[in-house]
């Protein structure tokens, strides 16, 4: 049986360390890239503020989760972030529309060249950067951080019932001897790595939690919903028509302001979903969203800018490339080769610190050899 176990171990490793991270990360990138591509398709400029719009959306969700928790409301097993997503989408959509009203509409009116609008969007990016940092700080904040309550503030028994015995603890302060309740809301896990290892006796575990599944399911739902919206509804078709030929769209009586408003609303909502799902998986940290701008732009351009299908494909392509290039294959190779060939050193093309370098490389290669992307981009 050693061959079978080795193969199983190798397969589990590939699934756990390549496929799963790439698919969840790719979903977040694809959602982000969709927003960038929509804005480009309609407004003809690359919106550098998109990453920080994602941070804003995640921050709104996080604040909502913290407020709920402060009042002793825990939503386990459903992640509170998911329930608050509509609020975050609405707020980020409104933010995007007001940014358009106060910043971008001016450049449209004076008919600025696209590069000027891009510069303006970089300014907006720094503005949002500052706002999110002022409100929620620069540190890493998990969505289910440990909360403390005074005794009597929450119903300990009911919470223990809902969250499990391990999640709720009554402790006393070392200095004052005052008692307090400590709650750490767990995350619903379908497969726990340690439990899986113990149950199967395999060296590799298998882990899968609700957030990862939700990220992928939600992303697919958004893709389908957006496809339906753009190809079946009157407003969606008007957006495609406007993106295709702005002058003719005006001659057909399509109201440009309406198209622009709907576009920002969708782009903002997409940013909120992408930011929240990524934050719930990895924790909220404003800088990571700023950093994600590069892979998101790479995904947008690889797929063909202005093409929703391209943004989705590009998102997963960039995520898989990043993960595949920066993974350490030592373990999986050792499972597969005969024992005498096993290696002691690492087998890694590039350290994970350089994963943004991979996006950059993809960007450069695509721009050099196929600047229009996979789907010839420019229109929706």
């Amino acid at each position: 049986m050693p061959l079978v176990t080795d193969l199983l171990n190798a397969f589990l490793w590939i699934f756990n360390f390549l496929v799963l991270p790439a698919v969840t990360y790719g979903s977040a990138l694809a959602l982000g890239a969709l927003g960038v591509t929509l804005v480009f398709g309609i407004l003809r400029f690359a919106n550098f503020a998109h990453g920080d719009m994602m941070a804003f959306g995640a921050m709104v969700t996080l604040i909502g989760v913290e407020l709920l928790n402060r009042y002793g409301i825990f939503t386990y097993p459903v992640p509170a972030g998911l329930l608050l997503l509509p609020v975050a989408m609405a707020m980020t959509g409104l933010l995007a529309i007001s940014l358009d009203k106060f910043v971008f509409s001016y450049y449209r009116r004076i008919k600025s060249p696209p590069v000027v609008v891009v510069m303006a969007s970089i300014g907006v990016m720094f503005l949002l950067n500052g706002i999110t940092r002022l409100i929620k700080g620069v540190g890493l904040t998990p969505f289910n951080a440990r909360r403390t309550f005074d005794v009597g503030e929450v119903d300990v028994a009911a919470l223990a019932d809902q969250l499990g015995e391990k999640a709720v603890a009554v402790k006393s302060d070392f200095a004052t001897q005052e008692k307090f309740v400590q709650v750490s809301e767990p995350e619903l896990v379908f497969f726990d790595v340690a439990e899986f290892k113990a149950a199967t006796g395999l060296a590799e575990g298998f882990g899968l939690d609700l957030i990862q599944v939700l990220t992928v399911v939600l992303a697919v739902a958004v893709f389908l919903g957006l496809y339906w919206f753009l190809s079946r509804t009157r407003t969606g078709k008007a957006m495609r028509a406007f993106s295709d030929n702005e002058d003719l769209a005006r001659l057909s009586g399509i109201d440009p302001q309406r198209v622009v408003t709907v576009t920002w609303l969708i782009a903002g909502s997409l940013a909120a979903i992408a930011g929240t799902m990524y934050g719930m998986d990895k924790g909220y940290k404003p800088f990571t969203y700023f950093q994600m701008l590069l892979p998101i732009f790479a995904a947008t351009i690889v797929g063909g800018i202005g093409h929703p299908q391209g943004a989705i494909l590009g998102g997963y392509l960039v995520a898989f490339t990043e993960v595949v290039i920066t993974a350490n294959y030592k373990k999986v190779v050792n499972y597969l080769v005969p024992e005498s060939w096993e290696m002691a050193g690492n087998l890694q093309l590039l350290g994970t610190e350089y994963k943004f370098g991979v996006s950059f490389l993809i960007l450069v290669v695509v721009l050099l050899f196929r600047p229009t992307g996979i789907f010839k981009g420019r229109v929706l």
Binding site: A241, D244, L248, L251, G253, D255, V379
Partner: protein, 234 residues
């Protein structure tokens, strides 16, 4: 009262005037053709009537109402339709979606209007699910006219509808334009193919340097030796 009466239009794209006192008129069920040498301001006159070019002086009356201050979108609402010379279809949308976008302002059922334009241009019905970018030049021009007809306009304005199509397709398009005229729509058309266009015109205008040089019925202009020699050739 004429359907369209544009009088003494002067203006251009900023800087020097392209139009200097040009007048165009058309009535319901009539075809007006504007001909003239290159740079005479034919297309500019059309765009000025539709509000795509700012006028410095002159008036545009639709059914006796001055619409000179209205934005192009508002003129569409008033029953005007414009087919630009180039980029006159949504290439990435299907034929059917193009027609739907033509009828964007209409909130009622458009299926009857779709059937009507399919009856007028049967080839579009065959290609209804194809992207407009995949159509041939002639089919594309038909779709451009069909899109404009979807609002059920009173006034249809065509900027060189036969540019770049074969003579066979041109004859066919002119036949369709005459059919459209039969429904009581007023048509204003700019044409390079002056002889064929004037042959189907009720009114003809010869523009030179942004002014009306000759104005008469299409047949009379074709018969005028001076016009033939200078502007039509032969």
């Amino acid at each position: 009262m004429k359907l369209l009466n544009a009088g003494d239009m002067s203006g251009g794209y900023g800087g020097a005037d392209i139009l200097s006192g040009c007048s165009i008129a058309v009535d319901r069920g009539e075809v007006t053709v504007i001909v003239g040498p290159n740079g005479a301001g034919k297309s500019t006159a059309m765009k000025a009537i539709f509000g795509l070019v700012q006028l410095r002086a002159g008036s545009v009356l639709l059914d006796g109402t001055d619409i000179g201050a209205l934005a192009p979108e508002m003129r569409v609402r008033r029953g005007m339709a414009f087919v630009p010379q180039t980029q006159n279809v949504f290439t990435s949308l299907t034929v059917e979606e193009n027609l739907e976008m033509g009828a964007y302002l209409r909130r009622d059922d458009i299926s009857q209007a779709v059937e009507q334009v399919f009856a007028l241009f049967p080839v579009l019905k065959e290609k209804r699910r194809q992207a407009a970018g995949e159509l041939s030049g002639g089919q594309r021009q038909q779709l451009a006219v069909a899109r404009a007809l979807m609002t059920e306009p009173n006034l249809l304005m065509l900027d060189e509808p036969t540019a770049g199509v074969s003579p066979l397709v041109m004859d066919e398009l002119f036949d369709r334009i005459l059919e459209i005229k039969q429904t009581g729509i007023g048509i204003v058309m700019v044409e390079q193919n002056a002889r064929q266009a004037l042959a189907i015109a009720d009114n003809g205008y010869v523009l030179v340097n942004g002014e009306n040089r000759y104005t008469d019925s299409g047949a009379a202009l074709l018969a005028d030796p001076e016009v033939r020699r200078t502007f039509i050739g032969g």
